[in-house]
Each structure stands twice: as structure tokens, then as C-alpha cells.
């Protein structure tokens, strides 16, 4: 996803940071530049959390404070040098970031906002209370001047260090954004259900976002302590947390240039507003309100939105060659693609309702197996058990004799089960090809550091991923829409995109949950061909469907569910004439109804 603007933009930033100090006519303006670099580092990290993972932190000042105090105390008490202080500050803040991420397992939205607010206030008050360590309200003074390899860092030298660090943070956060980690964060924030169904560990992804936001805030905190040589609790209040969040939102959450611009504006704005004297605070509030009204997506978010609306993007930026669908759906590491799927004695109750009662079924390797039944028969419940979203009270689900029942959805997905959703669950704000690339996610193996620096396996695997995605798009006939946002696709195409995303994971078993619902006759014919083709590639297909013609046409075998019980399982022609199946669908006299309640043949 290397945009053609990336390299010039990086160069431009380096030139900007290089020229900036020469415009400084006094100590004070140089100090403002340095404050800008520090705030920008906080904003870039927070941008990952807010813009990509979609989480809110109103406690960023607390993490900033943790870094500042860790660095200051190490340097004053233990005589630690600059580098050690920086590393320690990042580690401590990062650790607390990981702790803050833990509540996101259960709490979101305003609840999470409260937790982060509380965290910030706790840090502030612990600093005030713990006099012996932090100096209480008077703070830590006489922090030694920083030096690097025994070169004292004062004035322009310290600025140079800050500028280099800022540049590194820009590159690293930008690279992470444009890697599988950034995509995973966007995916989790847009549809957690879908993200887990393609094998993403949502908690892990959010924790990574929190750790990045926290350790950058910690880094900035240490740099701030060494800039001021004095810190007190006054610099780390709730209002500072708001300002950090504002930097990200003002510039445009999710954009690197936006975070930089937001930090720049909010560093200099108070300086200009000082001329207004009494009206300073009022003007600050007014400006904030006006920005939210005029540019609700932030400066660069709004610009990007306008550009996207008026500039037509090329439908396919990369010429794709060479990848055949057969190779794409075969996982090189996984070996054989098809597998035997067995559900054995599944029972699940919701309150007093037994949704599934000792339901058993089997899908042979490469088979197209249809699961049918009247509304409320338990079909979707079965799909949700197989994919790990529900835990059955009894029974086993296994793929090639590996038990899956009770595993988390992302682990089930990683062992080779892919699915589509009855009411499509796409990542609406991402492009069509990005949706498919997220499906490919678990086949990528490069790590965070490789992504951050674009080294090692990163380049090669990203190209493979993009090519595979393009091949899958051409398989489902969506090549012309490669760079459209998924939510703009009509319903039928969204269904096909879901199939492409599911196939990108190279599944052994593909579950299609009512793929024909809402499709036109012509689209159903295409779906028919597509399902046959998928099975011919050796992937077992479990098709949950109402559309009788489609089932009779493609299915090798059919299993019928009624009131949570499997009442028949056989080839389509026999199922068609099975009296119990006819009864389940059309009903019969009450006298014979009781007899049909027994277990399956």
C-alpha cells in the first residue's frame, strides 16, 4: 500500500525539520520547535489508537507523565544517562499501556473513555501523593542536562536529537499503519465479528495499538523532562489529555500528516491566543467547536474525503500477473486443503430453549454439503458453534480429528474454517482489495519490527498478499471495483466479496451462510458455478441455504435440521422425497407430528 506520495512526503518532512531551527531567532522560538516535536510524537502514537483501532484515550497525559517521571527520577536519583532514561520511560509507559488495553476485552466506548480518564487522574494524584519519589506538588527539579556519548545536548543539538527521533516515529508509525498490523486494527474497529472470523485476535490487536500509543507518549514524556529540566504535576492534567486527543482529531484521525499538523497547530495556537489576553481560553474553545463543525473528519480527513469523492482512483493500481486461483487457495505451509469435518452430538440451550439437540453431521473432503431446515431450525446456531462464536454445552466439532468446540473464533479460523455472513459483515470503510487482504492476514508471517522498518519478509509477503487478493477478486468478478470502498458495493457484490475474503485464508472448510438470499436469478446462477469451482479446488463447502433449486443443483449431500434435531442426511434426490422433510417444511396432521421428533436416521 505504498502510496506514491509517501517518499516525497518523508523527504519534505526531513527538509522541514532541517530548516526549522534556522528560522529560530531566539531561545524561546527554538524551545517551541522542540515542544512541537515532542507533542507530535505523542500525537502520532495516539493516532494509531484513535485513527486505526478506533479507541479513545482521554488519559494520554498520564502515560506522558509516566515517561517524564521515570526519566527524570532515573536521571536525578540514579544518575542514569539519557539513552537509558529514554528506554526506561518507554518501557514503563508501554507496560501501563498494555494494562490499559486489558479492559477493552469487555469495555468500549464511553466506558473505556471513563477508564482512561480515571487512569490519567490516578497517575496525576499518585504523583502528588508520593512525595518521597516525585517531590509532590513541587515536582522534580535540577534534572541533569542530557548528553549523548558524552556530548552535551543543549540548544540546537537537543533539537537535532528530537528531530531525528520525530522522523523515526513518523516513519515507524506510518509503516505500521500500512502493514498487516494497521489493516488488522482498522478491521477490528470496523467489524470485530468479521475480524475474528478471519483469524484476527481482536484483543491482541487492540493491545498492540495501546502499547504503541503508550510507549510513544512515554518517549515524549522523557524528552519533555530533559527539555524543561523541571517537571511538576501541573503539566499532566486532564486538560493536557484533551489537548493530545484534539491534536489527532483536528488534523484528521488516521492520517500521519494530520497528526503532525494537529500537533503543530496546537503547539503554536496558545502563543497567538495570548494576545487576546482574557479571551484566550474562550477563543480556544470556540476554535475547537468551529473545527468540529466545519471539518468533522479533521483537516486532512476532510481533504481526503473530498479528494476521494472528486478524483477517480484507478480501478487497479497494480498490474496483476501469474497467480492462478488454484495456487492462491492452497496454503503453502498448510499442505492439503481439503479436510473431513465432523460435528458430533452438539447440544446448546439458550435459557429454556434447546436450539440444538444432539445434532451430528459430517462433511467429506471436497464435498458440497447443504444444511437446510425451516426458520428457527438451528442452522445459524450450528454455524456459530462451528466457527467458535457459541460454545456448545455438549458435543464435539472436529476438522481432521482436531477438536474445535470451545476454541475462540480466531483460533477456529486459523485451523482452516472460513465463513461468510447471512447479513454481510464487511469492513465497509476499507477498499475491496483491502478486505480480501485482511482475509489473507493469517498467512503473513512478518513481525512488528519487520513491518516498522520495512525489512525482512515484509516486502515479499506484502506483494504476495496483494497479488493473491487480486487473483481472488478476478475469481469473484470484482476486479473493476478493486479500490472502491466496500460499503459502496451493491448487495450481491458484497456477498461475492465476502466469499473472496473467506477464500483468501486458504480454508479447508468454507461455510456459506445463506449466500443466495437477496440475489437475483442471474446472480444465483453465477453463485452456483462459483461454489462448484471452489469445491473442485478441494475445499469442503458447507452451504446453509433456503433456495431449493440451488441446493438440488450443487449439493452432493443434504442434512436437514428441524427444531434443533437432525431429521435426515442423504443425497438430494432422496431428501426431496423424505416424508419427514416434507412434513418439517409443510406440516402435517397433529397426530403424526409426535412421531417425527426422534433422532436422525
Amino acid at each position: 500500500m505504498t502510496s506514491r506520495f509517501t517518499l516525497p512526503a518523508f523527504t519534505g518532512l526531513a527538509v522541514f525539520l532541517g530548516i526549522l531551527p534556522f528560522t529560530a531567532d531566539n531561545e524561546y522560538s527554538l524551545r517551541l520547535f522542540m515542544l512541537f516535536t515532542i507533542y507530535a510524537i505523542v500525537a502520532l502514537g495516539l493516532n494509531i489508537l484513535v485513527g486505526l483501532a478506533g479507541l479513545i484515550s482521554l488519559g494520554q497525559a498520564g502515560l506522558f507523565a509516566l515517561g517524564a517521571y521515570t526519566g527524570a527520577i532515573l536521571a536525578t536519583r540514579l544518575g542514569a544517562d539519557f539513552v537509558l532514561s529514554v528506554v526506561a520511560g518507554m518501557l514503563i509507559a508501554g507496560l501501563f499501556g498494555a494494562l490499559l488495553a486489558y479492559p477493552t476485552v469487555r469495555v468500549r466506548g464511553v466506558y473505556l473513555a471513563v477508564i482512561t480518564i480515571a487512569f490519567g487522574l490516578i497517575v496525576e494524584n499518585v504523583i502528588i501523593e508520593w512525595h518521597e519519589l516525585t517531590g509532590g506538588t513541587t515536582g522534580v527539579s535540577s534534572i541533569p542536562k542530557p548528553s549523548l556519548f558524552s556530548i552535551p545536548l543543549d540548544g540546537f543539538r537537543y533539537y537535532a536529537v528530537l528531530a531525528v527521533l520525530l522522523f523515526i516515529v513518523v516513519v515507524v508509525t506510518h509503516n505500521i499503519k500500512r502493514s498487516r498490523y494497521g489493516r488488522a486494527m482498522l478491521a477490528v474497529s470496523q467489524s470485530e465479528t468479521a475480524a475474528r472470523s478471519v483469524g484476527l485476535n481482536a484483543t491482541g490487536v487492540r493491545t498492540l495499538a495501546f502499547v504503541i500509543a503508550a510507549s510513544t507518549a512515554g518517549l515524549a514524556g522523557v524528552l519533555y523532562a530533559f527539555l524543561n529540566l523541571y517537571i511538576s504535576p501541573d503539566s499532566f492534567t486532564f486538560n493536557d489529555s484533551i489537548r493530545f486527543l484534539l491534536m489527532v482529531v483536528l488534523g484528521g484521525a488516521g492520517t500521519t500528516v494530520g497528526a503532525l499538523t494537529g500537533a503543530l497547530i496546537l503547539t503554536y495556537l496558545p502563543e497567538y491566543l495570548q494576545q487576546l489576553q482574557y479571551w484566550q481560553q474562550f477563543a480556544y474553545g470556540l476554535l475547537l467547536a468551529v473545527v468540529m463543525f466545519v471539518l468533522p473528519l479533521g483537516i486532512f480527513g476532510t481533504l481526503a474525503d473530498l479528494a476521494g469523492r472528486y478524483l477517480k482512483r484507478p480501478s487497479s493500481a497494480y498490474p496483476m500477473d501469474g497467480y492462478a486461483i488454484e495456487t492462491v487457495v492452497k496454503d503453502a505451509k498448510g499442505g492439503r486443503t481439503s479436510a473431513r469435518f465432523v460435528a458430533d452430538g452438539l447440544t446448546i440451550r439458550f435459557g429454556g430453549l434447546t436450539a440444538l439437540n444432539k445434532a451430528s453431521m459430517q462433511v467429506d473432503p471436497g464435498e458440497i454439503h447443504a444444511l437446510i431446515g425451516p426458520n428457527g431450525a438451528g442452522k445459524s446456531t450450528l454455524v456459530n458453534i462451528v466457527t467458535g462464536f457459541y460454545k456448545p454445552q455438549e458435543g464435539r466439532v472436529s476438522l481432521d480429528d482436531v477438536n474445535l468446540a470451545g476454541s475462540a473464533p480466531h483460533l477456529v479460523a486459523r485451523s482452516g474454517v472460513a465463513r461468510t455472513f447471512q447479513n454481510t459483515e464487511l469492513f465497509g470503510e476499507l477498499t475491496v482489495i483491502e478486505n480480501v487482504m485482511i482475509g489473507y492476514q493469517k498467512r503473513l508471517s512478518y513481525g512488528v519490527f519487520e513491518a516498522a522498518l520495512r525489512i525482512g519478509r515484509f516486502g515479499e509477503e506484502e506483494v504476495e498478499c496483494r497479488r493473491a487478493a487480486a487473483a481472488l477478486l478476478s475469481f469473484v468478478g470484482l476486479t473493476a471495483f478493486t479500490n472502491e470502498k466496500a460499503r459502496f458495493l451493491p448487495f450481491g457484490m458484497q456477498r461475492r466479496l465476502e466469499i473472496a475474503r473467506a477464500l483468501a485464508a486458504a480454508p479447508k472448510l468454507l461455510l456459506l451462510d445463506e449466500p443466495a438470499a437477496g440475489l437475483t436469478t442471474q446472480e444465483i446462477d453465477e453463485l452456483d458455478r462459483m461454489i462448484r469451482h471452489i469445491a473442485s479446488l478441494g475445499i469442503s463447502v458447507l452451504l446453509i441455504e433456503h433456495h431449493v433449486e440451488l441446493i438440488m443443483s450443487v449439493a452432493d449431500r443434504v442434512t436437514v435440521l428441524d427444531y434443533g434435531v437432525v431429521i435426515a442426511s442423504d443425497v438430494p434426490t432422496i431428501i426431496q422425497d423424505d416424508p419427514r422433510v416434507i412434513e418439517a417444511y409443510f406440516g402435517t396432521a397433529p397426530a403424526t407430528h409426535a412421531a417425527a421428533g426422534g433422532p436422525a436416521s
Partner: protein, 291 residues
């Protein structure tokens, strides 16, 4: 023993104030699934306007009524201009920031008009302390929790027996279905923000004689009121009141036995722990959150 009673009674006083603030958050959230992050500033507005009106020679009851009416109007306007335009967006960051922005502006205006210092609001409730089981309290302090409980009961009554209350309930269950039944959803949003702001203004007027009134008094009270609402379960009316009173008492004990800074540490740590154990708050119901 005497100090324990003292802590409990003064705890109920400040706790009653938290409960009133939290009730406001509860009302706004139930109806609009959004809150006013400047809600603390409505407390400040109520208290400061009352003092300014009394300065101008207005009788206290008239000053109070006027201040509550002004707070209510503030709430309605804020909903219309800072919350409603962003209610449709998927993320809650927008209305969080716009309401915070309005709060910053209000605080700046009040600082200019009222001055940056703190003043006490004269009230007949704090002229003489009375002795309850050996603990000295002002009648005002006893009044606050009573008013909080009355407000809670009144809200319950309104929801059950009045047309507008039932309409609010309908909107909180399903705003689209409510709109299809002919309920003006936007008017319900405005009403609930106005009602919440009126309760907030009243809470400010009640607490100002005991603590002090200043332009910056709203921040902490607002944050704690919000924390209390979340602890109690923002969807539960009795929940937020119980949590408010409990939180106030807990604060007084920590303050009495340890220190003021420890009060904040313990209070906010408790908030986090409660949310970890009960993600919907102590008395809240499960709901799908939209962020």
C-alpha cells in the same frame, strides 16, 4: 464512632451532589445515547448565576429559580448545537469534543464575568450547624441526599405516569420505532438534556454553600459524576443514585483516614476495578455500545 457518623453524613451530602450529576448523565444517555461532557459546567452555571443574582439584590428563591431555568436552557441549546449534529456519526469522539469545547468557552466567559476566585453562596441551610448523634452537620448537608432521592423517585414517576416520560422511555428503547409511533425524537433529546441540566444546576446551587463556587468548580464534580454514573450502571436510575451516595461516603472515609490526594486515587481506582468486574456497571443492563 462520632467521626464515623460525621463521615457518613458529610459523605451523603457530597454523594447526593454526585447522584444528581449522575442522574443527569443517566437521563441524557438513556434517551440520546450521548452525554454532555460539559455537564459539570452546568453545576458551575447554576451556582455562579445564583450568586450573581443575589449580588444584584434578587431574593434567594427567585435567584435559584432563574439560575435553574438558565441551566436548563443551556442544556437544551447545547443538545441542539453541539450534540445533535454529530449524533448520526459512528464515533462518539465528535460530540465528546464539541461539548468539551462549549464547556471551555463557558468556563472562560464565567471567569471573565465572575472573576477567577471562589465564593460561598449564602444560604439559610448553613447558618447554624446542628448536632446529629454527636456529629456536627449543616441542615443543607442533610437536604442534598434527600433531594437526590426525591429526584430519582420523581423521574421514576414521570416515566411511568406521564406522557412525556413514557415517550422518553420509548425513545430509549428504540428511537426509530418511537419515531414511527409519532414521537418527536429530537424534542425528547432536547427535553432530556434540559432536564439533566436543570438537575445539574440545582446540584451546583445545593453544593455551593458548603464547598465554594468558582468558574472551575465543574470539572472535578462533572468527572466524578460521570464516573459515578458509569459505576452505578448508566442505564439504571436507582443504580446511579446508590453509587453516588456510596461514592461520597467512601471519599469522606479515605479523606479522613488518609489524605485528599488518596481520595482521588482510591475513587478512580475503584472506578476501573468496578468496570473490570461489571462491564455494565453495578446495576446496569447489557447494551450494545456504539463507538
Amino acid at each position: 464512632m462520632q467521626s464515623i457518623i460525621q463521615y457518613v453524613l458529610s459523605g451523603f451530602a457530597i454523594g447526593g451532589c454526585y447522584a444528581l450529576v449522575a442522574l443527569g448523565f443517566h437521563i441524557m444517555w438513556s434517551t440520546a445515547r450521548a452525554v454532555n461532557f460539559a455537564h459539570g459546567d452546568t453545576l458551575m452555571l447554576g451556582a455562579v448565576l445564583t450568586i450573581m443574582a443575589v449580588d444584584q439584590g434578587a431574593p434567594l428563591p427567585a435567584a435559584i429559580a432563574g439560575a435553574i431555568a438558565a441551566s436548563c436552557l443551556f442544556g437544551v441549546l447545547l443538545e441542539r448545537f453541539a450534540v445533535r449534529p454529530f449524533a448520526k456519526t459512528a464515533s462518539s469522539i465528535s460530540w465528546m469534543l464539541t461539548t468539551i469545547a462549549i464547556g471551555i468557552m463557558l468556563e472562560a466567559l464565567v471567569t471573565m464575568e465572575f472573576g477567577g476566585f471562589s465564593r460561598a453562596l449564602p444560604s439559610p441551610g448553613v447558618e447554624r450547624a446542628i448536632s446529629v448523634l454527636g456529629a456536627g452537620v449543616y441542615p443543607q448537608e442533610l437536604l442534598i441526599p434527600v433531594i437526590a432521592v426525591v429526584a430519582m423517585a420523581g423521574l421514576g414517576w414521570m416515566r411511568r405516569y406521564t406522557l412525556i416520560g413514557r415517550a422518553m422511555q420509548a425513545v430509549s428503547f428504540d428511537r426509530n420505532a418511537a419515531a414511527l409511533m409519532g414521537i418527536n425524537v429530537h424534542r425528547m433529546f432536547a427535553f432530556s438534556f434540559g432536564l439533566a441540566a436543570a438537575l445539574g444546576g440545582a446540584a451546583g446551587i445545593l453544593i455551593a454553600p458548603i464547598t465554594q463556587a468558582s468558574a472551575s468548580m465543574g470539572l472535578t464534580l462533572g468527572l466524578k459524576g460521570f464516573a459515578v454514573a458509569i459505576i452505578g450502571g448508566i442505564t439504571s436510575t436507582p443504580g446511579v443514585v446508590i453509587a453516588g451516595l456510596g461514592f461520597g461516603v467512601m471519599e469522606k472515609f479515605v479523606e479522613g483516614y488518609i489524605s485528599t490526594a488518596a481520595r482521588e486515587i482510591v475513587g478512580f481506582s475503584l472506578t476501573i476495578v468496578v468496570l473490570l468486574v461489571f462491564p455494565q456497571g453495578l446495576f446496569g443492563k447489557r447494551e450494545v455500545s456504539k463507538v
